[in-house]
Structure formats: C-alpha cells, structure tokens
C-alpha cells in the first residue's frame, strides 16, 4: 500500500487549508470549484471550525475580512465570475493588511463563459483585479500535490506579509485526481498583536483602509510598496527543466506547464534542444530568470490556455532580447500537444 491517497485538486486544496489551521471558510458555490465548499461543509465541523455558505460571493469575501481582522486563518474560493465580484474587498483586504487565502479554480471566460478549465484570469490575478496600487502574492499549482502544498504555504505567506495570497488554479487541476502525500498539520502559528481581539488591557487595534488625509494615504502606500518589494525579493518561485543547453524555451504555468513538459520531453526525444521554465509564483514573476535565458536562447514560446496574457509579462521581461512566440487556446478547450509540438518544430526550423 502506498502512503499516498488519490484526491481531487479541489479536495486537496481544502484539506491543505485545514492542515494549515484554517478554521473559517466562507464561500458560494460555482463550478468547477464547488468540491472545496463541499469538503469544508463535511470536515470543518469535525475540525471545530466554521463553514458558512454565504448569500453571495461578495458576502463571503466580506466575512473573510471580518475573520482575518480577528487574526484567524480564513479563506474563500470561487471561479472567475465569482472572483470578479470579490475584487473590491480583495483590494481592501490588501490595503488593510489582512492575511487570507483566496482560491480561483479558473474556468473559461469572459463573462459566465464555460465551466471547463482555462487560464484567462491571469490579468485579473496579477495586475490588480481590484482598484489601487496593491499586489497579490499569486501561486500557480500544476498538480494535485501542489494544490495541497501551496494551500498550506499560502496561509504561511499571507500571515508573514499580512497580505492576501491568491491560488490561481484551473478546472483541470481542480477536477483531476492524483496521488497526494499528506503532510503533518501545521502547529506553529505566528503571533498577531495587530488583530482586533478585544482591547481590554491594551491600546486599540484599528483595521482600516481609509486615509482621508492624502499625505497619510501616500505614507500608507509607501509602506505597502516597501512590503511588496520585500515579497518580490524573497518569495519568487519557479522551476527550470533542460534550459542549460536549450535553443528554445517554453514558458508555461499551471495546467499548461504539464502539457509543455510533455512537449519538451517529446522534443528532446527527437533531438531538439527544448527547455521549459515554469513560474510557480505568477507575482512575483521570474523576469530576471527569463531575461538571462533570453540572452542565450534563439527564442521563447509561451503556452497558455488563454488568448495570451502571461505572454505580455514574458515580453516585458525579455525586452526584445529574444523573439517571444505564443501558442494558446481560449475558452476552456484543452491545448493539443501535437499543435504545440508542431509550433516547436516550426520555430526551431525557422531560426536554424
């Protein structure tokens, strides 16, 4: 018997949250993430926590604001359309420096789109779907194991920086089952002297995002930006595969990175020098690593389940040092490996 268990991505994410000490979940159903609230509805009572199906997505994220303000580990989850509704409060959570985990099991958009997995919520995730100068530390799992591991890491990073952390997953990673090794439950939780826990015997703690005096608002912005700079410096995560001698480097995250990895392996088997860079954090973004690769490769090929979003950040990072091609498919239809493989051959033939 293996020590791993077969879990769906959504279940692994929820289980990871409970292991990370999350005891307050607020959400509203939407496919393809509904197994997350379903899991909490079943297991949160056993863990002594709160599962609440709110009256709307907006109510759910507002409840997260309240629970986070008291210093508790808390989360919500949804899919594209629901995330759009939550954006105002996500901006406010970041401004008020409240830690929480937000999960987007993305589906095909725009609008109500379809319920199949897609990656067209990249802009919303990393460019500030809400208003104002704020950033979300954005984690992009590409396996069921990472749905669990990054859920646990997400709570840790949220507390460390007092900022919301977003998991940008998709319907494929959310719905698939894979073997998962289940880690030990988290036992260390940081002190939160800032939390609104009752001011008896101490000064009051104010959780707020409103600064009517513009100079104070600017000061608060500078404080936030200094924090985002620390995150950018310390929390960048990515993986490289076979990039050392690569002539063409694929760049892909989440579900696309698995397709890209298979394509890279096939190309290597054909003797083509192809590598892969896979961002694990989408913000911060591995711009420096891409820049270095661009200086020595013939080109890059970005693969996304969208009409092309991350490709803009790759082009910004590379800044003309190497050509950046794109292969994508919007609307929830899976990218075909054969198509990417054909593009790889074409690019290498064209540049040889």
């Amino acid at each position: 018997m293996s020590d791993k268990v077969l879990l769906k991505g959504t279940e692994a994410c929820a289980m990871g949250a409970i292991l990370a000490g999350c005891r307050h979940y607020f959400g509203y159903p939407i496919t393809p993430q509904t197994e997350i609230p379903e899991y909490f509805a079943k297991y949160m009572p056993e863990a002594g926590g709160v599962f609440l199906q709110a009256e709307s997505e907006i109510a759910a994220i507002s409840m997260v604001y309240g629970a986070a303000a008291t210093g508790r580990r808390t989360m919500t989850s949804s899919s594209g359309p629901g995330l759009s509704l939550k954006q105002e409060t996500i901006s406010t959570l970041s401004a008020a420096e409240l830690p929480c985990l937000i999960v987007n099991v993305a589906r095909g958009g725009p609008g109500l789109g379809c319920i199949q997995g897609a990656q067209s919520d990249y802009f919303q995730s990393v460019k500030g779907g809400g208003h104002g100068d704020y950033r979300l530390l954005t984690l992009a799992p590409n396996s069921v194991q990472e749905m669990m591991d990054l859920s646990i890491l997400g709570f840790e990073l949220a507390d460390k920086y007092r900022n919301p952390v977003l998991i940008l997953s998709d319907g494929v990673i959310g719905q698939m089952m894979e073997p998962v090794g289940i880690p030990e439950a988290v036992t260390f939780f940081p002190e939160k002297p800032w939390a609104a826990t009752g001011a008896k015997g101490r000064g009051k703690n104010l959780i707020n995002s409103l600064y009517l005096d513009a100079a104070r608002c600017e000061e608060h912005n500078r404080h936030l930006q200094a924090k985002f700079a620390r995150i950018a410096e310390s929390e960048l995560r990515y993986e490289e595969f076979d990039t050392e001698d690569a002539e063409l480097v694929l760049v892909a995250y989440g579900i696309s990175s698995r397709i890209a990895l298979s394509v890279k392996n096939r190309a290597r088997a054909e003797g083509l020098k192809v590598g892969l860079l896979r961002p694990i954090t989408l913000w911060p973004f591995p711009s420096e690593a891409l820049r270095k690769l661009a200086d020595r490769v013939k080109g890059l090929l970005v693969v996304e389940q969208s009409a092309g979003q991350m490709v803009e950040d790759v082009r910004l990072a590379v800044c003309g040092r190497a050509p950046v091609a794109f292969h994508g498919r919007p609307g929830g239809v899976m990218i075909q490996m054969d198509d990417v493989q054909a593009k790889v051959r074409e690019l290498l033939a064209g540049e040889a």
Binding site: M1, S2, V5, L6, M177, E178, P179, R258, M337
Partner: protein
C-alpha cells in the same frame, strides 16, 4: 511505460468509478497515476467520460488526447472517441448498445456484449462497470490483478465486508469481462 486510457458512456454506467478504481490500482503499485472526468452539466443518462493515465514516468497532460485504449459503452461514445485511439491501440465497444460496426482497421477492435452479460448472465445491471473493468484489465495489463483487488478493498472494503454476496458478484463480473475480451481476441 505509459498507459493512456479513456472510458466513456452514459452517466450512471459507473464509468467514473471504474476509472478511479484503475487509478487506485496503479497507486497501489506506486506508479504515477491521474484520473480526470469530463465534467459538464452532467446528469444520469447524459454523456460521461474520464481519462486515466498509469505511468512509470511523471504524467504531463492528464487529459488523454491519443488513448492507447478507449472503452465506448454507448453509440455516442463510439462516435466521439473512435478516431482518437492511437494507431495500433485497442478499442472496446459495448456491442449490446452499439449497433454500428467498428470503422478502423489500424486498431484492434473488441465488440463485447457487456450490458447483456450484466443483465442476462449476472442478473445485475450494476456490475456493468466491473465487467468492463475486467475487459480493460485484460486488454491493457496496465496493472496486476492483485492491485485491482487491493484497490477494490481500499475503495469498497467496508461495504463489501458487510455484503459478501456483492463482493463475490464483483469478482464474478470482473472475470466475465476478462473472458469476454479473451473470447473476442481469439475470434
């Protein structure tokens, strides 16, 4: 070695569970496995399919695009997946519900009376997926028989311990599927 499979049929035929059972059997052997459902606004009687990969290497795309084995439990599934089967691959068709003959000669087709076996011989429509699993097992050899039994124990052990009659019926159905496949292979 990588086994990429698609199982398709009506919702309610037990296709999803059968795929999970096979994935669990692969996990019992410590292999890389993945299972992913087609998920749409599905309902009993609607179309359902799942992709299962059992591999000795890390699995890339979990949604199988060129299966080495496909199982079509109804006509709709045959029409949808017949062209996708990799050349040289295997295609198991539930002949009880699919009147159309196989079209491709570059794959190995097995037309098996799976639903008839369930209803007429085993007197239980519910064991259809276990019969299909037996046929798939015999056609692929993706996992050992022991692992299938371990997976069944893991997934249904508690229920089957209370219902030894069902455990016996499942085993019988699994064997019936294997025999049907072998018979078709010899023919």
């Amino acid at each position: 070695m990588m086994h990429e499979m698609i199982f398709a049929g009506f919702g309610g035929q037990g296709i999803m569970l059968m795929g999970q059972l096979l994935a669990q059997a692969g996990l019992e052997e410590g292999r890389h496995v993945s299972w992913i459902p087609s998920y749409g606004p599905e309902m009993r009687g609607g179309a359902a399919n799942c992709s299962v990969v059992i591999s000795d290497e890390v699995i890339g795309a979990p949604v199988v695009q060129k299966p080495q084995l496909a199982l079509a439990m109804n006509l709709q599934s045959k029409e949808r997946f017949e062209d996708m089967v990799a050349p040289g691959g295997r295609f198991i068709i539930n002949g009880s519900l699919v009147p159309d003959p196989p079209r491709r000669s570059d794959i190995r087709n097995y037309v098996l009376p799976l639903s008839d076996l369930a209803v007429d011989e085993l007197k239980s429509a519910k064991v259809l997926n276990m019969i299909a699993l037996g046929a798939v097992f015999e056609a692929t050899g993706a996992v050992s028989e022991e692992s299938i039994h371990k997976a069944m124990d893991f997934m249904f052990g508690k229920k089957l311990a209370r219902r030894p009659d069902l455990a016996a019926l499942n085993r019988k159905a699994f064997q019936a599927g294997r025999e049907a496949l072998n018979k078709a292979a010899r023919a």
